[in-house]
Amino acid sequence: MKRKWKLALAALLGFSAACSTVRNTPRKPSDAGTDEVRTEVRDSVRIRVMYGVPAPRPERIEREMKSDTTQRQQSDETPDAR
């Protein structure tokens, strides 16, 4: 709870993003079965290090993007009902 208050205060100060790398650390597999709610993995909080690379977009988002593109293509190809 104390951690959440600190993060909330950082957000009030306008530095929520700057503090993003210490937020909502996902559990290790060994923690499975605890009562703690598993928080969402956020690739965006990964630091891009000196000789490193940007975090890849989550595959879920890539699948959604592909799905949106496919749906738009199908919609364009479908003739009007009339």
């Binding site: 100060l13 530095f15 210490v22 891009r48 690379v53």
Partner: protein, 357 residues
């Protein structure tokens, strides 16, 4: 002196961050694993901190050895989807088995990426790497032709890197950015260079200053003056506000009043906290920019996971860095002595970003 000034709001936020970061360090959850798969390179860049060359005298690590560590030491303790594997060099494209390596890492559930100078990255090779699961890539482009070729010491390097960039930008679904080592010669051209990148479709860009290690150590032509360094940071701040391109300064160095204005996050050195590397000779360390001997073990004699969990003390407790210029510095609580890669073998700080402001 103005660049050093922390306003009250930012100072309060930094205090909160420093407090929270202690728990991040205590947890040391691995989220990035570098594999230094080669020290061979198809260039001999002036600024190379790794002193890479065509024949470095050090053999590539066999892929099987790295995969063994993944299978036996890392996978049992992590969710592979949450650990980004980065192939590092040298120039990783010199490895003929790079696609095999990528496919094996992908098969095990790890996302992977690589950094390249682009000299050997044809459109065909890029497609081949994508089929092997490449998810993210950084391309080095150190200015316009004269500046880039001067640093890279190859008259074809700029054209090849530009061709590689165009292939990368056009590749659907590939995360990428351009990384630029900024020298004094490039500072007056940053606006024009930014516009060129925008015209090429680039939307993500990182700028580095060159730190004095390896071949860069004694080359004054690679350095910026303090005034140029501030000018570069002002440029980044201004460009971020424009919103046309996601530009940031590299992860290194506490930047005082520029904190949270030239990067997405407050300064932190994640080496040994969430980042580990397996070096070409098997040494286990933080990120591959750390060239000094802060090795914590070796995969050929130690358990990687045991080392990750129980060693890395110099990376996770930086009190040893409270010496020299850091001894009485009020910013130490925020910078913890700066990036690990900015310390020599004896622990001496090679240079301080904050004092350049």
């Amino acid at each position: 002196m103005n660049g050093r000034r922390l306003g009250l709001r930012k100072r309060m936020a930094l205090n909160i961050f420093s407090d929270l970061y202690r728990s991040t360090v205590a947890e040391h959850r691995l989220d990035t694993l570098f594999w230094e798969c080669t020290l061979r390179c198809n260039l001999a860049c002036r600024h190379c901190g790794s002193d890479c060359r065509v024949d470095p005298g050090v053999a590539d690590m066999p892929l099987a050895d790295f995969l063994k560590v993944l299978d036996e030491e890392v996978t049992p303790h992590v969710d592979p989807a949450e650990v980004l594997v980065i192939f590092s060099g040298g120039e990783v494209l010199v490895r003929d088995d790079l696609e095999e390596a990528g496919a094996e890492v992908t098969r095990r559930g790890y996302p992977w990426g690589m950094v390249t100078n682009g000299l050997a990255l044809t459109a065909e090779r890029l497609r081949s790497l994508r089929r092997a699961g490449l998810r993210t890539i950084s391309l080095s482009l150190d200015g316009f032709e004269a500046e880039h070729n001067y640093i890279r010491r190859n008259p074809r390097s700029y054209d090849r890197a530009l061709d590689a960039l165009r292939a990368i930008v056009r590749e659907p679904g590939l995360t990428y950015d351009v990384v630029t080592c900024v020298t004094g010669a490039l500072v007056p051209q940053l606006e024009a260079f930014r516009d060129m990148l925008l015209a090429e479709g680039v939307r993500s860009w990182r700028l580095f200053s060159i730190f004095p290690v390896g071949r860069a150590k004694d080359d004054p032509t690679l350095r910026m003056t303090d005034a140029q360094f501030r000018e570069m940071l002002d440029f980044i701040r201004r460009t971020r506000r424009e919103g046309r391109i996601d530009v940031s300064y590299a992860c290194e160095g506490f930047l005082g009043g520029y904190e949270a204005e030239v990067r997405d996050h407050f300064y932190q050195c994640a080496a040994g906290v969430s980042i580990a590397s397996i070096r070409v000779d098997g040494a286990i360390s933080g990120c591959t920019s750390v060239r000094a001997d802060f090795h914590q073990g070796n995969i050929y004699t130690d358990s990687f996971w045991e080392v990750w969990e129980n060693r890395f003390e110099p990376f996770r407790n930086r009190e040893w860095a409270r010496r020299g210029v850091c001894a009485d510095c009020r910013m130490f609580r925020y910078c913890l002595g700066g990036g690990m890669h900015l310390h020599g073998d004896d622990g001496e700080l090679l240079y301080c970003h904050y004092h350049r402001l």
